[in-house]
Amino acid sequence: MVRRAVITGLGIVSPLGEGVLENWQKIADGESGIKNITFFDTNDYPVKVAGEIHKFNHKKYIDDKFCLELIFRNVKFALSAARMAIEDSELETKKVKPEYFGVITGSGGSGFDGAPFSEDISCGLLKAWDNNFQKFKSRKFGENGQNSVHPLFLLKMLPNNAIYYLSSKYNIKGENYNIVNTYTGGADAIGRAFRCIGRGDADIILAGGYDSLIFPNTIFTFYSLNMASLSQNPNRACRPFDLYRDGLVASEGAGFLVIEELEHAKARNAKIYGEIIGYGNAASAYHLFEPCPLGFGLIRAMERAIENAGISREKIDYINADGIGTIKNDRIESIAVKNVFGRHAYKIPMSSLKGSLGHTGCASGAIETIISLYSLKKGIILPTINYENPDPECNLDYVPNYSRKYKCSTFMAINQGIGGQNSALIING
């Protein structure tokens, strides 16, 4: 007998703000978190806009000063969103059996972009420069450089450090995974949590995703692969499913959920936002970064989720789309949804929140699932903004520009990753 997994706590940090309510309200009002890039100089840079998080007071959420010294901004978002989720769930973490309390994260990696000039290392690296040869030398780095780097830089780059800080703060000693599927990690974390609770490995799991894509090199890679939006106008840059969409907009943030076994939640009278009933993950096995034109992986992920939920596909009455705003991905997503739902596809409203939030990387699966769940509770679904010119190849109901009163009870959240990873979650409100 598979145990039932319900959602009892929600937390979000995004360019639009902190917490579910603020995020939901702003998206409902058609606001966009995308602005001109300020983190680095974009004068000679092809991409001008991103969803940067400003004025975020992480000290409100993270008390440990040592920890703050040793984490990158993506982990700061993670720890803050996780704390919101725990507080929202009103869980008394001390009363939970630590070995049945787990944490599963989806992350984009260590939170720096792989260029050798990360500020923790740069000082030491300069000392490795050999002026005679105009080259960096390992020998010189060993001699002089090693003493000038941040002595604990490796702990900053530790890809699983968010799990560590969460486990030590909340005394979590059970199941833990850190899933790096660019960019379905957040959704996969929720899916794995659903499986873990289902089979009895844990009673409560803190699951979610966090990421930051706003690094000069990362965005440049998107640009090189023709994935980045080159728009100069931040408010109009990310236009999922619109005919004139021109790419994704890098963003950052974190979303965390408290996922709990049903009886456990009932026993402590927790408020229950919804129940996870299906999950599917599949690869398109097509290309290292190009999406499969026929959407095979995505189709399989959705079909597996529906099969797993044991419901008929007509039961699904809202789809939270991936809709990253690139020509190919949005088209493929529309094809895949039509393939899975047939004629029913035209009746299901399907919106992408990335017009407002940008692409928050591995956080997107979690953030968007949380916001959709909240929409379900409110009976109002949120729009795909910047949708002005219908694309004949994307002819579904994308809830254009204005939020809509709509009663729904079961939704599917889908995510496509750059490496061909796809995931689908089905949640009952």
Binding site: Q146, N160, N217, Q421
Partner: protein, 427 residues
Amino acid sequence: MKRRTVITGMGAVTPLGLNVKDSWEALISGTSGVDIVSLFDASTFKTKIAAEVKNFDFSVFKDFGAKQNFMSRACFFITAAAKEAIFSSGIDIDIIDPFKFGISLGTGEEYISISQFEEVFGEEKIYDSLITGRHYFDDSNFLGRIWPLRRSANIPSTMLSTIYNARGPNYTSVTACSSSGHAIGIAMRTIESGDADIMLAGGGDSLINEFAYTGLSLLGALSKNNKEPKKASRPFDLNRDGFVIGEGAGIVVIEELTHARRRKANILAELTGFGTSSNAYRIADCSPDGSGLDISIKKALEDARKTPDDIDYINAHGTSTLINDRSETSAIKKVFGKKAYEVLISSNKSMIGHLIAGAAGVELIMSVETLINNIVPPTINLEMPDPFCDLNHVSNFAAEREMNAILSNSFAFGGQNNSIIIERYTN
């Protein structure tokens, strides 16, 4: 009814050999794969030794063409190990259901090494940007353009999915030193839940570069026994002074039992238990009393419905750092009680070094070989056991013993642990 998971194929690239057979034979003869670092000039570093993969032919994948630009050293090892695993499993990729065939790998991000600077970004450009603080962007270097993508940890799992048309679940687990154990656990659970019938699971890593060496040295984790490299990795020995970085990959084919039987596969072992836990203690330490580690061992035993009495051998994490070895010993005593002093234990890391994200994958493979051959590989360099690590070590020479069930442990920086139990498969 629980779906059972069995291992039907294995592939390894290790400092001891480029396939499972060579690695295993070197392992039971007590050979050390540790030597002076050749991948970069480590002469001025505090630690100058590593267990490097030797004589690996990087041209074997030249028919991949431009795809090779996306392959890190670790990715090459993983791809080679996967090839051996698929071959040894006898699976015909063309006739299995691609949607029920998935990938679950444990890897890490690629660290750039100084020797790659020119190729990836250009040395002078890096220098300029360090001086001016400005970032540079340049279309001229293809590798530089794709670097953030190439170095991301899930490239190997994407790579394998495209090579083998694996359209089922696809996961990459990144929990530092225990990554591939977590990946194997996910593969096992994925098959149990019906999401897949076959999973290619395991992992690989290569951290032999200036920055990883610096970072780990600064944490005091690495052995500095540069005079006698072959004696440097000495788990549970009183004179140990840290671990030795290794590199390589270990990949297994995990299959649902009835699927394996239907195609008359050679079943090497049954995967019966898996458990994870976190220490919630310190980021770069485990607690002296082994709390946290014991939970993953207990969970794996419960999952396999075994008691400590059923376990014949423990393939220890055994990194050769004081705190890890003692903590692991305490955890085993906590769970195994008196039996702790009877069950055989050894650490492969004494010979292959610490393969970081690849460690659990390779060690699982060596555990399967142990089970099949009834030979336990030794912990070499175990000359004077640490009195705190007073277990039944198989020291210096391999031991013959009948094997039925084996426990393999992996722990990590950050405190993510996993334990895996394999058993001899019987009908």
